[in-house]
């Protein structure tokens, strides 16, 4: 007896589970039971689970019976003539949706030729074993699976044309690629998923060779000429907001150029970009920390402080400035109201991003790299026909990663570009490599894609043939302009007196635990001390009780709170973090006493 559960609730048991399961499935295929019902038979638990609940992920498969696919050439014809639709296929029990639990017990063939009498289903297309983004990788069946994952991840980070109404939008962190192109080599899912309306890359000429070591370790060499011809240019948008908030007591923020009495008033120079309404004008060039929106807020603690100070009654300056490290041009200024009816100002700043050293690029095969050098066009190698590559890719990136799809795309791209057509690179159903090679030969090129090249520097012919071709390249959103960071001195944390963290705040770069170990291992003891001097302080220690003493700078005398001024008080230099530790120990009720001793 096998227990039967419907939506995880026990409803009864059946004598013959296999017959039962078969019957339920048959009824479902006939349409007598809803097609959303799935049945999973688990022989190891001796249970049958019928699922009718929502939220299950299901996918369509072609039903196979007695070693034969139910989907025949006849159906294809009917579909082509528009006599049959997807719904009809389901109604007629040719295709059914399977959930994850039912799939466990299904035996799915990849293609018609694989079908054996044991098979229960067949994939509609072998591509369906891949996800949406992964299916966009051309020649995916030639690649290593982990590289496909990385390839699809790279596509999600590629700059492109994400929407057509970007001028009307105030999205944060937006990048737009100039002149995006559709790939020459694409899979059939490309158009199917409307990717061709949102292209996110460009077809470029790529050569596989080394270039003076500037492309080792996954770096790439870019042609300066190509960049000047706007290869991979993009624009970065960032919106800034300001709201006229209402506070209790009828007080409001005021947008406008702050007057000089305002608390925290900046220099007059800082407001130079603002117009009379306190807003910056479109197309103004803004630098780091420039005021974009002038704003003042009412005083913080109204009333209470009045008696003590006159200054406290002043309005506060609360202007919006551009972020640290961010420059650009004002793209748009929008004056509007928000849901609460408050006046809302939105300013969009745009910055042109021309590829530079350190920017990240990737192909669709998980081959990513950063720009190592930008070479003047004259110094780039060229082919006999005068073609100069846009990008030089290191051949060392290929063997260990086994991204054969990358290599095939180059041949395919070359053939496609030369013959002026798109190449189908769908996984398992692509144009054959043989045909691509043949078409290259027909157009007068070497069938393996290599060409004789000449050094751009000396003009000499290179001793080996270079693999050149056309390929779709993606510019990824990680750009040095957003990441470059260094600091000599700057803000510190209040509690620990150590430098603050993070690029946006101009923080320090941490020399961590393991980096410390490195210095210790080298015996660079004094360098280590110097590197950790960021929070050094001098403390006064009472030699009597070993606790912190007080130094009165005004009267220039030292005393200990416990032992008075008639004791020896010495000065030691330690890290503030340790002083903090001593204080925290005292808070715990532990008395840490320092016993000073001349070290030498």
């Amino acid at each position: 007896m096998t227990d039967v559960f419907i939506d995880q609730r026990f409803v009864g048991s059946v004598e013959n589970p296999k017959v039962f399961a078969k019957k339920v499935r048959e009824e479902r295929q006939k349409g007598k039971i809803s097609g959303t019902v799935n049945l999973a038979y688990k022989p190891e638990l001796n249970e049958i689970h019928v699922e009718t609940s929502k939220g299950r992920v299901r996918r369509p498969l072609i039903i196979v019976e007695n070693g034969k696919s139910k989907f025949t050439a006849e159906h294809i014809k009917k579909i082509e003539k528009n006599e049959m639709t997807w719904k009809d296929l389901i109604k007629e029990g040719i295709i059914e949706y399977i959930d994850a639990a039912e799939e466990e017990g299904a035996y799915v063939a990849l293609s018609e030729t694989d079908i054996s009498p044991e098979h229960t289903h067949m994939e509609i297309s072998p591509t369906t074993i891949l996800g949406l983004t992964t299916s966009l990788v051309p020649f995916a069946n030639y690649g290593q699976s982990s590289r496909l994952n990385r390839g699809s991840k790279a596509q999600k980070q590629a700059l492109g044309f994400y929407t057509a109404n970007y001028l009307q939008r105030m999205d944060t962190d937006v990048n737009l690629l100039h002149y995006p192109q559709n790939p020459i080599v694409r899979s059939f899912t490309y158009e199917m998923s409307a990717q061709h309306r949102h292209p996110a890359g460009q077809n470029i000429i790529i050569a596989l060779m080394s270039y003076e070591g500037y492309n080792m370790q996954d770096a790439i060499v870019l042609n300066q000429g190509s960049i000047q011809r706007s290869l991979a240019r993009s624009t970065y948008f960032r919106p800034y907001n300001a709201e006229e908030l209402r506070y209790s007591g009828g007080l409001v923020d005021e947008i406008g150029i702050p007057n000089k009495e305002v608390k925290g008033y900046r220099a007059e120079h800082d407001y130079r970009l603002l117009e009379d309404d306190g807003l910056i004008h479109p197309e103004a060039t803004v630098g780091e920390d420039d005021v974009i929106i002038g704003k003042t807020s009412p005083p913080r603690f109204l009333g209470e402080l009045d008696e003590f100070s006159i200054a406290a009654n002043k309005r506060r300056e609360s202007s919006i400035t551009t972020k640290n490290n961010e420059v650009g041009k004002v793209d748009a200024v929008v004056i509007t109201d928000n849901e609460e009816g408050n006046k809302l100002i939105q300013v969009r700043v745009r910055h042109l991003r021309i590829p530079e050293i350190g920017d990240k690029f990737a192909s669709r095969h998980g081959q990513k790299g950063v720009v190592g050098i930008i070479v003047p066009e004259a110094d780039m190698p060229f082919t006999a026909s005068g073609i100069v590559p846009d990008l030089i890719f290191s051949p060392h990136s290929i063997p260990s990663r086994m991204t054969i799809s990358h290599l095939i795309e180059i041949v395919a791209g070359k053939a496609g570009a030369l013959s002026g057509r798109t190449i189908d690179g769908s996984a398992f159903a692509s144009e054959s490599e043989k045909d691509l090679r043949k078409s290259l030969v027909e157009m007068g090129f070497r069938e393996n894609g290599t060409e004789t090249m000449y050094s751009g520097v000396t003009g000499e012919r290179l001793k080996v043939k270079i693999y050149v071709g056309n390929m779709y390249y993606l510019r990824l959103k990680h750009m040095v302009a957003n990441k470059l960071h260094a600091r000599a001195s700057g803000r510190i944390q209040l509690l620990t007196r150590q430098p603050i963290e993070g690029r946006a705040k101009g923080g320090g770069l941490r020399l961590g635990e393991m980096e410390k170990d490195c210095l210790v291992a080298h015996g660079a003891s004094l360098l280590l001390k110097e590197r950790f001097d960021s929070d050094k302080t001098t403390i006064h220690v009472c030699e009597e009780c070993g606790m912190l003493a007080v130094y009165d700078d005004f009267r220039n005398n030292r005393f200990c709170h416990r032992c008075g001024s008639n004791v020896i008080i010495n000065v030691v230099e330690i890290s503030y973090a340790f002083k903090l530790l001593l204080d925290e120990l005292k808070a715990l009720g532990i008395a840490p006493r320092l016993k000073l001793r001349n070290k030498y």
């Binding site: 410390k516 170990d517 490195c518 210790v520 291992a521 080298h522 015996g523 660079a524 003891s525 004094l526 360098l527 280590l528 001390k529 950790f532 001097d533 929070d535 050094k536 020896i568 008080i569 010495n570 230099e573 330690i574 890290s575 973090a577 340790f578 530790l581 120990l585 715990l588 009720g589 532990i590 008395a591 016993k595 001349n598 070290k599 030498y600």
Partner: protein, 388 residues
């Protein structure tokens, strides 16, 4: 004369080196001058091999283990169809060794047999069967309870008995010896287990039934799996489970070569020197299996640190790290509050002699360039100047 020459080098070279040179000199018939040259050269080499004062060997060792540790894979390849005893490998095993865990996750032995038997497959198989621990449920087909007599009846598997050369009365004997409060007897092919207690209940009988399944019948306790493996000409028995003490008492076993990966068993049976050697061997095996390379001196250093106390202590807060002299150093490792509070209760002092404390206080660490100190004799007044 020559004796004097060697005596001069005592303390400059190790005893072992001097002894070796002595023997070699005699054999080669070297003159005194030549011997002196040899010794002088050896001393130079010996001195360069020494580590200079202030070298941070502890951190170097830690880094030398830590860096390859990041490359270790947790998943080890297995070969389909090949009989293997699964042994923890890689980083988990290394952690196990360095922590000196008492209960390791996969204890295993390599049992070598004496020369006479080690090449004979049939003999090896016989010894392996002898070693393997057999429990009652492995040789029984059925356990049932006779409700009327309130006794457990065990149906024995005759094939298994034959394989193990066991007789039913031997099984009953083992049951009597290893199970308390019951009496087992043979009844044909069945074994009857009865409680000795006067009063008997069904629940009791059921408990006896369940307990009896796990009763040890034959073999060496703790060894759950045996696998004879050919290793250059002779067979070695690899086991899952380890019991060094009992295994080396078996006649056919070559106790000079038999090993276990359980550090504490080696410590118990052969002592701390052997345990040290075992730590080195096991740690090195993990590193070599992963295709990595760590200088053996680092491993030896760790093994030394773990065993100097005369027993094995792991690098944990309850082991050698917890025995550090400095309070601040211990507090910076694990459970800081515990160390700080205990230190305050007994009024511990920290001399700030080690690395981590000095990093905390931002003082030069006493290593490398921070180690040498310049001592000058100052004037007597300067010493007083400190008092103001």
């Amino acid at each position: 004369m020559e004796e004097q020459l060697f005596k001069d080098y005592e303390g400059k070279l190790t005893k072992k080196i001097i002894e070796e040179v002595k023997a070699e000199v005699k054999e080669q018939g070297l003159t005194k001058d030549q011997t002196k040259k040899v010794l002088e050269y050896l001393k130079e080499e010996y001195d360069t091999a020494k580590i200079s004062p202030g070298e941070a060997i502890g951190i170097l060792t830690a880094e030398s283990f830590g860096e390859p540790g990041t490359q270790m894979t947790l998943n080890v390849f297995h070969f389909a169809g090949v009989a293997e005893v699964s042994v923890t490998q890689g980083l988990p095993r290394l952690i196990e060794i360095l922590d000196a865990r008492k209960e390791i996750s996969t204890p295993s032995m390599e049992i070598y047999l004496k020369k006479g038997v080690s090449k004979d497959m049939a003999e090896v198989k016989r010894v392996a069967a002898l070693i393997k621990e057999t429990k009652l449920n492995e040789i029984a087909t059925e356990f049932s309870i006779d409700l009327t007599k309130l006794q457990v009846e065990v149906q024995l598997n005759q094939h298994r008995l034959k394989d193990l050369k066991l007789k039913p009365d031997q099984v009953a004997e083992a049951l009597n010896a290893n199970m308390k409060g019951v009496k087992a007897s043979v009844n044909g092919e069945k074994i009857i287990i009865k409680t000795k207690a006067e009063e008997n209940e069904l629940m009791e009988t059921y408990k006896i039934k369940e307990k009896s399944k796990e009763v040890f019948i034959k073999g060496v306790k703790g060894i759950t799996q045996v696998l004879p493996v050919k290793n250059n000409e002779e067979y070695v028995i690899i086991t899952a489970g380890s019991n060094l003490k009992d295994v080396i008492e078996i006649e056919e076993v070559d106790e000079t070569r038999t090993t276990t990966n359980s550090l504490f068993e080696v410590l118990k049976v052969f002592g701390v020197e052997a345990a040290r050697q075992n730590i080195i061997r096991e740690a090195q095996r993990v590193i070599e299996d992963q295709g990595l390379d760590v200088d053996i001196r680092h491993i030896m250093f760790i093994a030394d640190a773990m065993t100097t106390s005369g027993t094995i202590k792991g690098i944990t807060r309850s082991g050698i790290t917890g025995e550090k002299k400095s309070v601040l150093a211990r507090a910076s490792f694990e459970t800081p509050l515990k160390h700080l509070i205990n230190a305050s209760i007994i009024g511990e002092e920290d001399d700030l002699n080690s690395v981590i404390e000095n990093v905390m206080l931002n003082q030069p660490v006493p290593l490398g360039t921070g180690l040498p100190e310049l001592v000058t004799r100052g004037k007597k007044e300067t010493a007083k100047e400190g008092k103001k």
